[in-house]
Point group: D2
Chain length 304, copies 4
């Protein structure tokens, strides 16, 4: 039945007249074909069911924030929250307003400023290269040890054109909330965003957040619960309320059109559709998850 | 086991050195004894387990917003969302900033401005008296038809001293987002806030949101899901992220110290402790729910 | 030569294709003929030169704020500044944002919130009726003791429809920055705004601010300097920078299209053209003052 | 008499118990002796009267913005205003909030973001070195061709530690309101801020803004008027209203404690006292100008 549901969703998405707009600030994203679509679901019994372009690679972008947050919680526990908050915000993912009003403390770890702080925390006692290797290793372990790669051209492009992220990093530095030089932290951040996976890999990478992985020791259960809560309230920026309302389970989106979504105890879901809605989240990805949630009764707010 | 858990929580709360501060803007709230505590849980099997001062009445205040939202969704469905959003906000429950920036559209139905709009919608085609009777009737039906009362002194006090709500109502009116005169809508709103229940009644009143009520036709299931989602992302104002992180299921708080919390499909929970934290939510109520959530593994973000 | 200049300006203004939009929130303003134009200038030698519809009455609206500020400085001196600031603001004349961010202290006495506080201060120890009589008496004395009237229909209309001002007043009250009940203070405020004068009278009324009046004892010289400074930096709301840049001397505008402008030591100028620009200031009035300033070298920033 | 006034002011300032706090973000500023004080006044008759440490050099910092604005108005005229506004702002000199709310358009040319845009405009068709040479040449011409120097250590320090300016520059770049690379524009900007003058030189440098210079062709008269208007409404950041209220003539302050103030047609004034008030303007410099203004009746708002 899940196969049928995915097939039907894929058909609907392929036929959708409005597919959103691909991010256009770097060539690596602007040139992606917006008609692509993929979805993959890992279940508690070990099954994985996929549809569409599920073996095509895309960059994690902000989906990587879920993994670096997991690593940082593992290393620093609640100590992390001295530098970053846990509240959703009405402002956009790349807003400096929140930072200025809060004296340099990002509202949550999923807006860009917050994720930059998390990466900066991970750099403690490591070089950027070592940190990046740890991040890649963490994602590989989550997937189940396949090779994954970093798209260095993409990282380089973001380094050159990502002025809004540079603005955020320098603001954090001016507010004493960045321990390393801006170029070290941002260099690492841009590379973590450029990690490439396909939809099948991403769904497998999320199993530890859904409690499906054999290997229990990715991170402690209490951190899993925390990350899911934050993905619910903050995972889709200032569209998080809408996502909770329509989809009803935690998720983290990225500007490349990927979303990692978690049905706790039940499923780890990856969806990829490059066109974005006005909040910078995958337009068809969100609709596909909404359809899946309804078809499977997977909303955590469901009473049946 | 739930009895033991509640007993232990009550003991902890009674001994808590910091009980928060009771609201002091009207005498009816300022004079409440902050050492009171009650909790009550309705389960799927029909059992109800309570502890503490669970038969002492308190006013619903903003907890009433969950019921009026349910009524409005039942009457108007998605038509409601033209007048109010579904996103959490970084600003306080009584903020005018959000209204001004969004041209008079409240960010969500649980901040004061949003709830005033919801009540204004309910007034369509009814007098304030009729509307109020419908609200009381709805809460009574949810509880299971016991008598409940409105504290008219409290409503009168809020009418006189609730200048921030008057400020919000007039702003809404100036932005053409209030269909009735400010005094009609606010008069109704202040009275709905002054509905008095005890903790046992409130827990029963929430059963339809947890999917536990025999009587399925309070409102449609899809609206239940919607309300739970909104209670998760917006039910505790600019402390909603924190509540989701620590407690992990939907809830709606009120300034009298009550919280209605829902574990979808599992439990409807009421807690009451009059002292408030800095966000205006019950301080001990939140801690009690956090302990309950952990003890029972009731977080919707739990994977086990 | 000043006669010629005024004649030329009137001709230009009569022919201007875009005359702005009259305020439409109450019938008394919405029905005003936008093609009317008047200007009047009082000089140091006692001459008064006028053009256009300079004997047609219009309501002072926010121009009244200059007179109530003068009265309040006279009565309370610098004590007034505990309740209201002296800084321009980027927000609109009726913004609640500034109030919320500053804990209920208006940024300056010329935005609506600030002027409401000034009127509230004037009510100390007086009834609204007495206060209003004092305001009228002050304006009459400034003009030189002619009869002037209050347009009670206009005051009534504003009382009923001025929801944004009610929103501001209740916000001030909630922040303990209003000493009287909202309806007392706003009732007085709406009536002061409804004082009617014609352009010739308004120019004469401003002589004490330009240092031209025989009668030196309207208010102390140091207060005159203060009011002129505030009219320069704050008199045209979030268009004050533009007004200073283009016109170059202090002025206070009103929503009825009047502007009182002061060339210290040289001239008191009134202009009236009912159509407004996007900041809520008289569109042609501003242009007329700009032309006058250039023609007469009256900018205080002029070096010749 | 002016000599006596200056002597008395100097004495008062030397004895002032609270001298403010010197800027501490770079060693070059943090190490300055806060007890220093100087004032110098150039008059229409060619006289220059000075007191205090008036031959001690200090860096122009934001006072340089008056000169680069003059140059940019000379080169581009009103074309400049497409990229930067002319309104005062309630936010601090280094605020990113205004930029974000206005889509990358700084509110005025005297906040840091606005001045960075002005310098970026000056770079059109020139190398940073050539632009810097032009700026130095302009200041030298204004002073009357004495040698002045750039403090390269200071420029280097600001380049390394001026993260807030880097944040602003990258924000401007991300909003397409910077034509050159951030390091080119900021490199030039930091060097213009590091131009060193003494108080006597600065007073002479301001003569063209007061209309006192023999050489009329520094810039057109209409630009002089514009710059003075902007210095009045925006020259002291979010303390501009206060400065206009207390001092009453245009001025531009810098973080090194210098202020250039202009009495149009009458005097060009420089004051230097390194300690700052809460707005980042010279504390004693402001008080000294207030005393001078009162003693000489130099407020442009004065009616006598």
């Amino acid at each position: 039945m899940l196969e049928d549901t995915l097939a039907r969703i894929e058909k609907d998405m392929r036929e959708a007249p409005d597919k959103g707009l691909v991010a256009n600030y770097i060539p690596e994203l602007a040139q992606v074909d917006p008609s692509q679509f993929a979805m993959s679901v890992c279940l508690a019994d070990g099954q994985q069911i996929s549809c569409g372009d599920s073996t095509t690679d895309f960059s994690l972008q902000s989906v990587s924030k879920a993994f670096t947050l997991a690593m940082a919680l593992g290393r620093f526990g609640n100590g992390l929250w001295g530098r970053v908050g846990r509240e959703p915000t009405s402002n956009a993912f790349n807003s400096v307003v929140d930072l200025e009003l809060a004296g340099g403390r990002p509202p949550n770890p999923f807006v860009n400023a917050g994720a930059i702080v998390v990466t900066d925390a991970l750099l403690a006692g490591r070089s950027p290269k070592e940190t990046l290797a740890e991040i890649v290793q963490f994602v590989k372990a989550a997937i189940g040890d396949e090779e994954i790669y970093i798209n260095h051209d993409m990282a380089r492009s973001e380094n050159i054109t990502g002025h809004r992220n540079w603005s955020l990093a320098h603001f954090l530095k001016s507010a004493d909330n960045l321990e390393h030089e801006c170029d070290l932290t941002l260099g690492t951040y841009f590379h973590q965003c450029a990690i490439e996976v396909n939809c099948q890999q991403l769904a497998r990478a999320g199993r530890f957040l859904a409690g499906l992985s054999r290997d229990d020791d990715m991170i402690a259960k209490r951190h899993v619960r925390s990350i899911n809560a934050l993905m619910m309230t903050c995972g889709h920026y200032n569209g998080s309320g809408e996502f909770a309302y329509r989809v009803g389970f935690p998720g983290k989106s990225g500007v490349s059109g990927g979303i990692l979504a978690i049905v706790p105890g039940v499923a780890s879901i990856a969806v990829w559709a490059p066109g974005l809605n006005s909040f910078g989240n995958s337009m068809l990805g969100t609709i596909a998850l909404e359809q899946l949630s309804r078809a499977m009764n997977w909303s955590v707010f469901e009473t049946v």
